[in-house]
């Protein structure tokens, strides 16, 4: 019970303090007494936070759809030929620094939200794709054979046996991606997508540690909150149960 109440309370408290100018100001003053301009005045932190969450959600949902579908396709008999190609491509996409993807995406789709989403998706498909493939490959062959043998259509085999059986592994991939995205989304500020990166960049430019701290702290708390949430969802849906038993 304690684990259900204490973390949300802590996260809530942290968000209230960080996103509320009146509460944040005294905190920053005590932490950084020498900084003159203590609050980022142009945009309220809560608006940046909202933009940030938006970027994470849109990119993660897109990456999940792409990653899981690709993972499913390349583990079907007709798509199996593409397995190594797809895996190679997505590993390649992850070795690209997101900033470089931004630099390439801006000329193509312009400044703002869109190039950032492209960079985030390119960067976060890999864990989801890899986990989907791993989850599918780990299912014993006899199990899919048996599913076919009792009269499931290929789609029923996918939705009634394969996906439920690999759900835990896929969920772990999504969790990793979301956490990565919370951090990486800060680069969106460079191309005018907003988000918590705006304060961090402003702080770096003006050598203002209070700005950097407030943006970074909000992003960190957001990442922790997502991580906790996924942990809860996992225990909720994948209750104590052996994965694959014979």
């Amino acid at each position: 019970m304690k684990r259900l109440i204490v973390p949300p309370l802590l996260f809530g408290l942290a968000f209230v303090v960080l996103l509320n100018a009146e509460l944040l100001e005294p905190l920053l003053r005590t932490l950084f007494p020498n900084v003159r301009e203590i609050l980022y005045a142009r945009i309220p932190l809560i608006d940046l936070f909202r933009e940030h969450v938006m970027m994470v959600l849109v990119s993660s949902v897109t990456a999940t759809v792409i990653g899981v579908s690709l993972g499913v396709i390349v583990t079907r008999p007709p798509g199996r030929d593409f397995l190594t190609v797809v895996q190679g491509l997505s590993s390649f996409a992850q070795t690209f620094p997101p900033v470089a993807v931004l630099a390439l995406a801006v000329p193509a789709v312009g400044f703002g939200f869109r190039p950032t989403i492209i960079a985030l998706v390119a960067y976060s498909v890999l864990p989801i794709l890899n986990n989907t493939i791993a989850g599918m490959e780990a299912i014993p062959r006899e199990l899919t054979e048996a599913s076919r043998g009792i009269g499931m259509t290929p789609l029923q085999v996918l939705f009634l046996s394969e996906l439920p059986l690999s759900a835990r592994v896929i969920a772990a991939g999504i969790r990793t991606s979301v956490i990565i995205n919370v951090g990486t989304a800060t680069i969106g500020a460079v191309v005018g997508a907003g988000g918590l990166g705006v304060v961090i960049v402003a702080g770096l430019v003006r050598d203002n540690i209070a700005f950097v701290f407030s943006g970074a702290a909000a992003a960190a708390v957001l990442a922790l909150a997502f991580d906790w949430l996924f942990g809860r969802l996992e225990t909720l849906f994948f209750a104590p149960r052996a994965r694959v038993s014979r």
């Binding site: 006899e142 076919r148 043998g149 009792i150 009269g151 009634l160 439920p164 059986l165 149960r241 052996a242």
Partner: protein, 358 residues
């Protein structure tokens, strides 16, 4: 009725099944047996189109299987495999009900049927329906696998080494269980095994295969008594006399047994019976607890464990013989489900049965 006519299956250059023709009559158990790689499993899998035949025709009740949609066909055929293949994320009830779910039978009806089937295979629904597969023993999982195959009440069952992964003791129990079910349900069964004893015990007919061809298709007794060629003779082995005992269930050879209550055992005196007579001693609920044996100072009771000495009416005579030898006694008690003695099987009867052929 399942009918194969000139069915061939190629894998590239390899011919796994070579122009095989046979027929399984309604309500009969036909066992396919042979060394590994002989094509028995391939033959089985062509019936529900897990594999498609390269040429030839397989028909079920006169309908060519290749004319039906594979999924529809499979939903009408019970399928039991060695690895069981229960879905680990579903409980026992959902696993049993899965075929009916595919057939869009409503939930309440499905669940009622699942409970019925649990009763049928001798597992308490209250205790088992919500368990997950990892909580089951190998034998229990295999029974649930059979229940799943029976859920939609298909007229035909395909069983691919269903008891192959179970330990020998449990295998015998499952075989007895299978005979009991088959007697009640009269399915048309095609059964693959590599265990000759199993084939002889369960099959109405046995098909011995080698290199994709049928070597001999006969009753189990004939396979043992009249092997067609050297291959069959080698396959059934030198101990075919012993194996032949697997053909006969104990129920045809039950003799009346003498038994006595535990409290009366002390005062029992030999009523002049011959040297073969054994007196069984029962305790509370009339369940077997031991046997009376003569000793220098009169009689004493030897404690026996019913599950170690006893057989049931559907056990084979071979099992009875092995109990006889194992326990060093002259007769084995035949027990009902509550371990009460309903009769006994005697050594001379087994000897006589054996001499009848050889």
């Amino acid at each position: 009725m399942i009918e194969f006519s000139c069915v061939t299956k190629h894998y590239g250059d390899i011919t796994a099944v070579d122009s095989v023709s046979f027929r399984v009559e309604d309500g009969q158990v036909c066992v396919l047996i042979g060394p590994s790689g002989c094509g028995k499993t391939t033959t089985l899998k062509m019936v529900n189109r897990m594999l498609d035949a390269s040429s030839g025709e397989i028909s079920i009740n006169g309908r060519n299987v290749s004319e039906l949609a594979a999924e529809q066909l499979r939903r009408g055929i019970g399928y039991v495999i060695q690895s069981v293949g229960l879905l680990p994320h579903m409980n026992v009830r959902d696993n049993i009900a899965i075929v009916q779910r595919l057939k869009r039978v409503d939930r309440r009806q499905r669940y009622r049927r699942a409970d019925e089937l649990l009763e049928l295979i001798g597992l308490d629904p209250e205790q088992y329906r919500l368990k997950h597969p990892h909580e089951l023993s190998g034998g229990e999982a295999q029974r649930i696998g059979v229940a799943r195959a029976l859920a939609a009440d298909p007229p035909i069952l395909l069983m691919d080494e269903p008891f192959g992964a179970v330990d020998p003791l449990n295998r015998e129990v499952l075989q007895t269980e299978f005979l009991r079910l088959q007697r009640a349900l009269k399915k048309t069964v095609l059964f693959v095994t590599h265990d000759l004893d199993e084939a002889i015990r369960l099959g109405d007919t046995v098909i011995l295969m080698k290199d994709g061809q049928i070597v001999q298709h006969d009753s189990p007794e004939r396979i043992l008594a009249a092997p067609r060629n050297q291959f069959v003779r080698d396959f059934v082995g030198a101990d075919r006399a012993l194996k032949r005992l697997s053909c006969f269930p104990v129920e045809g050879y039950i003799r009346e047994a003498q038994q006595i209550a535990q409290q009366d055992a002390a005062s029992f005196s030999n009523g002049g019976r011959g040297p073969d007579s054994v007196v069984w001693v029962y305790g509370a609920d009339r369940a077997l607890v031991g046997m009376l044996q003569r000793s220098s100072s009169g009689y004493k009771v030897i404690t026996l464990k019913p599950e170690e000495v006893g057989v049931v009416p559907l056990s084979s005579m071979k099992e009875a013989l092995s109990r006889l030898l194992g326990q060093g006694i002259r007769a084995v008690p035949v027990l009902d489900q509550r371990n009460c003695v309903i009769g006994e099987v005697r050594l001379p009867d087994i000897e006589e049965l054996n001499q009848a052929v050889l």
